[in-house]
């Protein structure tokens, strides 16, 4: 407890950033800064094996030390010119302290040498050993100097290992150089300071420049390592903090960690320890409010001192206590050092009418102090300053609000003012007053009341309690704290006391009331408590309303309260009933608050987990080969799906059988399906896949052609601009390509490596033909064609071939076929070639698959044009429709190209001249993707092939221009991403990347409206790794995407995830939540974005990704639909201590997790995730 107290006292000031605050708070802050920097530096020394002299840690430590030394430095002591300079101080003490003399000499030397260089503006290398000095005192000169020269003498002293000795000297002779209230002069802080620096003084400092690492923030793994070092034994939050403690610090705004820790030690006798403990929640008094660093100016002291203000509900009524920080901390420290030495006698606050609690000063007061300087024990002085006011003694509460601070003055019945209590800015006064008002009930009230009405604020959203204060207090209707802060002004409240009347009444009807209910407490019905606690959700958990407040029964005579006329005659019965009431009411309010909390949890979180907990027993091994075999019946069917899910959820799947289990987990295979059925399903699926693929491959050919032209176009333009080529030729060609380019500019072109060669080879006359945009008739034709084609495809896919309206279509068919025939007749060569191309494509698309149908139709078509035509006609109603649709498309490409006979002819002519072979070759290599592997091993067909591609010229084919363009866009994106997908993983050779590309393209072809989105590749990759085979990987990817699509920017799931994350953190780890809340940016949780989008695929290694995904899939049926949330939470919780210790803000945390990617201990994270699910489940189930 002592340590907690101390830690709190040191951290709070940093948080409240009361920089200008003099006195103890300031000292604490300074010393805390030094402590922190020393810790950082020592950690750096350990993790990096050395500390560089220019390291940020050194500079920061020197700055902190400088701040300590500069505080309270006596100006006179240094002479006229060297005002407040610690460097001057050093020179001054050099006479008396040999260490200082040494350092002083060095400083002078360093100062002298490079000063001129600095003036001449030469940029100093950081490795220059002794940077020039700028005197500390001359602030205006300093601004221009680089940071390396800051704190020069401290730096040198540190490197010379003299710093701690010098400071020790300063501390020992503090009265000579420092003001009385200076940090160095303080008997505690001074020695702490010097002893803190012993460690850093023992380090080795290196001047050698390390590889730039000292300028950067420590990387993530170093942070983790540091954390392990300093806090190796921390327990996870779930263990350390009971869930119900969340947000307990709402009213005790200092987050007083020890207040829920009532009287750990029951040492007899009154002591300082008891006193401090009496400030916390305990059996006799309820802590309603606590705030540290509230300043009060006691008598005889010039300036206000910070201290701990608390509001207690005791049996006697409300008591306001204020204790100077020195007392609280002095207690804490001495307690830590030597318990037995503490024998300060304290007369405990017994009389409410005395505003000061004076400790009786025993002559033998031997409080443990290393240097007890004053004639009077310091503690005793502080005891005299502490304040204790019984609220019933107070008649008026004056509130003075100004820009500087909020002051509260209590005016007693006798008209005497208590010393003003200064609250820090930030709504603390307001919360104090509202707690006071609550505490006054039912016997008293504030007049006028603080709040005109009490709304029920949301339990979530701390600090946004929506209540309406009276206009007298705050003009604006709905007050948020900042608004209240803005308004300055004075207010007076009267404390109305009805207690005496109540007490009279009570005395008469004592016995009846002990039995009857409800008690006479009209002003405090239960509802009022419930509103209070819904405003501040946990106040009533830890601070149940006081018994005396409930029914006005006088307190048990445990503590003597002289002010109240305690009846000696009060029967033992009275006492008993009081106690009973106390117990019952506390229990009730505790229960009430718990229920309320749970209902909140349920409403917010019940959707996240399944209500019924499925037991874990003997699922540890997971789904092994044996178990899987045992579950399979003779027909190869798996029936017990719940068991499968359960095993997978708790133990994962053995790697060898993942390939068989995953289709079930993703819902591709039905449970209970026989092996035969599954094989059928696979075949159908593969056929479907091949069909789709052949469709988009045709479009791809068009896209490629366009790309090539576009590339040539931009190269032409480039060369035109640079004027490298012959001007005449260039003009022609560039014109040509400008036209083309305008049509196809949406496709990022691919560069041909030999631009000039191709252009020069190009004959002049082809210009009009190539550049000719499709005529209107043709476009119509094309569109009709493509529509019809799509329809055919659809029909083919859905096996509804007969539903076509024949009359219209057959008419169109006739027209089309006429043209088609013409082109076929006129370009027999071309026809043959294009068919060969289709065949070739088909062969590659479906190397192992069922290609008979496809090949048949191609073969038959190859014979001659008319037969080909007949094959089309026949195929339309036939069951092989899906295959023939391929053939329909490609010939129609030809048809479009050769729609006008002239054009068709020339295209065929031109193609060889452009040497498309070379272009294609080069291109496929440069694209680095799949094209090479798509090509057959024997290259003898390539000549034909390249001739064939060219007929599918740039004007769109049967596919509408939009379709081609949108597919082209997607295709380029896919290729860009596939090429760079997981190249470090050995699986992804060119061949397999090609498969990945095919899966992507097929999926995108099927979902052209959504298109490709970055991240899809990552999701498909592990599936392909696992299944090895395109068609089934594609099928699984399809099922995976059904859920995952929503995570992509087009869906809504991501925002929902973020919101759920926030709720979960709030419930399960309030401390982390507080930190996140302090940084508003956290609300977006973007550091989780990649986690959710890719199901942690980039956070974990492949093996772990498999396990995580299985867990996510199985959890849908076992524990939670949103397992990702819990894994995310587990990741966060794993590093929560690192995050908290470094008070990471949003950017730090993004950087941290991006650096930690693939370094997590996945099995620990996943099992923590399961624990978290269980935790939420029990929370919800627990009724």
């Amino acid at each position: 407890m002592a340590a907690q107290n101390k830690g709190e006292a040191q951290e709070m000031p940093a948080a409240t950033s009361a920089a200008a605050d003099p006195g103890a708070e300031n000292k604490e802050r300074l010393i805390a800064a030094v402590k922190k920097e020393v810790k950082q530096l020592m950690e750096e020394a350990v993790t990096r094996k050395f500390v560089h002299e220019e390291s940020g840690g050194v500079t920061a430590l020197c700055g902190a030390v400088e701040a300590c030394l500069g505080q309270g430095l006596r100006r006179r002591a240094l002479g006229l010119f060297k005002t407040s300079s610690t460097t001057a101080l050093l020179h001054k003490i050099a006479k008396h302290c040999p260490e200082a003399a040494l350092v002083s000499a060095r400083v002078l030397a360093a100062e002298g040498a490079p000063a001129t260089r600095s003036a001449s503006g030469v940029e100093r290398r950081p490795s220059v050993p002794r940077p020039p000095l700028c005197k500390r005192g001359s602030g205006s000169l300093l601004s221009g100097s680089p940071p390396t020269s800051r704190y020069l003498w401290i730096r040198i002293a540190l490197f010379e290992r003299q710093l701690s000795k010098i400071i020790e000297h300063l501390v020992n002779n503090a009265n000579r150089y420092y003001e009385r209230d200076a940090l160095v002069a303080d008997p505690d802080y001074g020695s702490i300071l010097s002893s803190l620096l012993v460690g850093p003084c023992a380090l080795e400092y290196s001047k050698a420049k390390p590889p730039a690492c000292f300028w950067t923030d420590p990387p993530a793994d170093e942070l983790v390592q540091r954390h392990r070092m300093s806090a190796g034994t921390t327990t996870p939050p779930s263990v350390r903090r009971p869930i119900l403690n969340f947000k307990r610090s709402l009213n005790a705004s200092s987050d007083d960690g020890s207040s829920n820790n009532p009287g750990t030690s029951k040492a007899a006798g009154s002591s300082a320890k008891d006193y401090v403990e009496s400030l916390h929640q305990n059996s006799t008094a309820t802590l309603l409010y606590g705030k540290n660093n509230v300043r009060v100016q006691p008598k005889d002291i010039e300036e206000p001192m910070p201290g701990y203000l608390s509001l207690h509900q005791t049996a006697a009524g409300l008591v306001i206590k204020w204790t100077p920080n020195q007392l609280m901390n002095g207690y804490a420290e001495s307690e830590g050092i030597d318990k037995s030495a503490l024998r300060c006698h304290l007369v405990h606050a017994s009389a409410c009418q005395h505003e000061y609690v004076l400790c009786s000063l025993a002559p033998t007061c031997t409080v443990y102090r290393r240097r007890c300087a004053g004639p009077l024990c310091i503690d005793c002085v502080y005891w005299a300053m502490s304040l204790q006011v019984c609220v019933w003694e107070v008649v008026y509460v004056h509130v003075h609000r100004s820009q500087a601070s909020d002051a509260l003055i209590l005016v007693g019945q006798d008209g005497v003012q208590r010393p003003p209590i200064h609250f820090p800015k930030g709504g603390h006064l307001l919360s104090f007053l509202s707690n006071l008002e609550t505490g006054l009930l039912p016997h008293g009230q504030l007049d006028p009341p603080l709040w005109s009405q009490r709304g029920t604020g949301k339990v979530f959203g701390r600090g946004k309690v929506r209540r309406r204060p009276l206009p007298s207090l705050c003009e604006s209707g709905e007050t948020e704290e900042p608004e209240w802060e803005e308004t300055a002004g004075d207010y007076v409240f009267r404390i109305v006391n009805n207690a005496i009347a109540d007490r009279e009444a009570m005395r008469h009807s004592l016995l009846e009331r002990a039995v009857q209910s409800p008690p006479r407490t009209p002003r405090r019905p239960l509802a009022s408590t419930s509103t209070t606690s819904s405003d501040s959700s946990t106040m009533s958990v830890d601070c149940p309303p006081p018994s005396a407040g409930i029914n006005g029964i006088p307190p048990p005579p445990l503590t003597p309260i002289p002010h109240q006329p305690v009846e000696q005659a009060a029967s033992i019965e009275l006492v008993c009933s009081t106690m009973r009431r106390q117990i019952i009411s506390r229990a009730f309010y505790g229960w009430l608050a718990y229920c309320r909390h749970l209902s909140t949890v349920r409403t917010h979180l019940s959707g996240l987990v399944h209500p019924n907990i499925i037991p874990r027993e003997n699922a540890d091994g997971g789904l092994t080969d044996e178990r899987w075999l045992a579950m399979t019946d003779e027909k190869g069917a798996i029936h017990d799906k719940d068991e499968v899910y359960r095993l997978v959820y708790y133990g994962g799947v053995q790697h060898d059988i993942r390939r068989h289990v995953w289709p079930y987990l993703l819902g591709y295979y039905e449970f209970g399906s026989t092996a035969e059925e599954r094989a059928e399903q696979d075949t159908a699926c593969r056929r479907q896949y091949e069909t789709t693929m052949s469709e988009w491959l045709c479009v791809e050919a068009i896209v490629r052609q366009r790309d090539r032209e576009a590339t040539a176009a931009s190269i032409a333009r480039l060369s035109e601009a640079s004027g490298k080529l012959k001007p005449t030729d260039n003009n022609d060609t560039s014109e040509v390509f400008e036209d083309d380019c305008s049509v196809i500019s949406d496709n990022p072109p691919i560069v041909s490596p030999e631009p000039s060669e191709t252009e020069q080879k190009r004959p002049g006359p082809d210009k009009p033909l190539l550049s000719r945009a499709p005529s209107i008739d043709e476009v119509d034709n094309i569109e009709l064609d493509s529509e019809r084609d799509k329809e055919t495809k659809q029909n083919g896919e859905t096996d509804n071939g007969d539903s076509r309206e024949l009359d219209v279509d057959s008419l169109k068919d006739l027209e089309d076929e006429d043209v088609h025939l013409k082109s076929v007749v006129e370009n027999p060569d071309m026809r043959r070639e294009s068919i060969a191309e289709i065949k070739r494509l088909a062969e590659e698309i479906v190397p192992k698959g069922d290609v008979r149908g496809l090949l048949c139709s191609v073969d038959s078509a190859q014979l001659n044009g008319s037969e080909f035509r007949s094959s089309i006609d026949e195929s339309q109603p036939s069951p092989h429709q899906q295959h023939t649709s391929v053939i329909i498309t490609n010939p129609s490409v030809d048809l479009a190209a050769g729609g006008s006979p002239v054009s068709g002819g020339t295209t065929a002519q031109v193609s060889p001249a452009r040497s498309p072979l070379g272009v294609v070759r080069e291109e496929s290599q440069s694209a680095g993707a799949s094209f090479d592997t798509l090509e057959p091993a024997d290259r003898n067909a390539t000549d034909n092939r390249s001739n064939c591609v060219s007929p599918a010229s740039s004007n769109g084919g049967v596919y509408s221009n939009e379709l081609v363009e949108s597919f082209a866009l997607n295709l380029h994106r896919i290729e860009k991403d596939v090429q760079r997908c997981d190249r470090n993983y050995p699986f992804f050779t060119d061949e397999n990347l090609d498969k990945l590309r095919n899966i992507m393209c097929t999926y995108v072809w099927e979902h052209l409206d959504t298109g490709y989105m970055q991240g899809m590749c990552d999701l498909a990759a592990p599936l392909l790794v696992m299944m090895r085979e395109e068609a089934s990987a594609h099928a699984l990817f399809n099922s995976l995407m059904r859920r995952a699509t929503d995570n992509f920017p087009s869906g809504q799931a991501m925002d929902a995830h973020f919101a759920d994350m926030r709720s979960l953190i709030q419930i399960l780890d309030c401390e982390l939540y507080e930190l996140m809340h302090a940084h508003g940016d956290y609300t977006h949780f973007y550091f989780c974005y990649r986690w959710f989008l890719l199901d942690f695929k980039r956070e974990l290694l492949y093996q772990d990704v498999f396990a995580a995904w299985e867990l996510i899939w199985a959890a849908r049926h076992v524990a939670s639909e949103h397992m990702v949330l819990f894994i995310a939470l587990a990741l966060l919780e794993t590093y929560r201590d690192v995050i908290l210790a470094n008070t990471m803000d949003f950017t730090d945390i993004i950087k941290f997790f991006n650096e930690m990617a693939e370094r997590h201990d996945a099995s620990a994270v996943l099992s923590l995730a399961r624990d978290l699910v269980l935790q939420v489940q029990t929370l919800i189930e627990n009724k």
């Binding site: 920089a19 500079t59 920061a60 950087k1151």
Partner: protein
């Protein structure tokens, strides 16, 4: 973490997907190049502290996803950034044409006085070049933005690009500071602020950009 720097600049890298934003950033922060970079999902950033005219300037450089679908996330970062690098790929005409769209995007989302710079990346691939340097320069003149061709692979101009941008931001900031905080008081005030900034860098930053 010891925050020992004089300035903190937030920079942002934007541009079409695959133009080499991550590579540029990696080159600048780690001085290395990796052919197999995976596409950026969501957002990432890297830090490098540079010495600029005697001041330590910490550059916090945000790397964004290129696909326009993810703009909802990336635009959230436009506001806080003090400098933006627009990157295109000299071997990709389309990415160059899209620079105009990105600039429009900046105008809509970033603060009005954000420093901008255009980078034409992959200038080592001369054989595949589609966008001439002249066109890049022309565009830059049109928009009054500085322009430089870089190569993350060959470590060409990457350093100087970031230094130039940082220097511009610093100059702009100091000019403003001077204007709002004239004459002698400036240096003293700066000291105090620098101290304060050690504890609360973010608030300091916002104040600076407000000035």
């Amino acid at each position: 973490m010891a925050k020992t720097y004089d300035y903190l600049f937030k920079l942002l890298l934007i541009g079409d997907s695959g133009v080499g934003k991550t590579s540029i950033l990696f080159r600048f922060s780690e001085d290395a190049f990796n052919i197999s970079f995976i596409s950026t999902i969501g957002i990432d950033f890297k830090i490098r502290t540079i010495d600029l005219d005697g001041k330590k300037v910490k550059l916090q450089i945000w790397d964004t996803a290129g696909q326009e679908r993810f703009r909802t996330i990336t635009t959230a970062y436009y506001r806080g950034s003090m400098g933006i690098m627009l990157v295109y790929d000299v071997t990709n005409e389309k990415s160059f044409e899209n620079i105009k769209n990105w600039i429009r995007n900046i105008e809509e989302n970033a603060s009005a006085d954000v420093e901008k710079m255009i980078l034409g990346n992959k200038c080592d691939l001369e054989a595949k070049r589609q966008v001439s340097k002249e066109r890049g320069e022309q565009l830059a003149i049109e928009y009054q933005i500085k322009f430089i061709e870089t190569s993350a692979k060959d470590s060409l101009n990457v350093e100087s690009a970031f230094y130039t941008l940082a220097r511009d931001i610093k100059a702009k900031m100091e000019k403003k500071q001077e204007a709002s905080n004239p004459a002698g008081a400036r240096s003293g005030a700066h000291q105090i602020r620098a101290n304060e900034q050690q504890r609360k860098p973010t608030s300091w930053l916002s104040r600076c950009s407000l000035l």
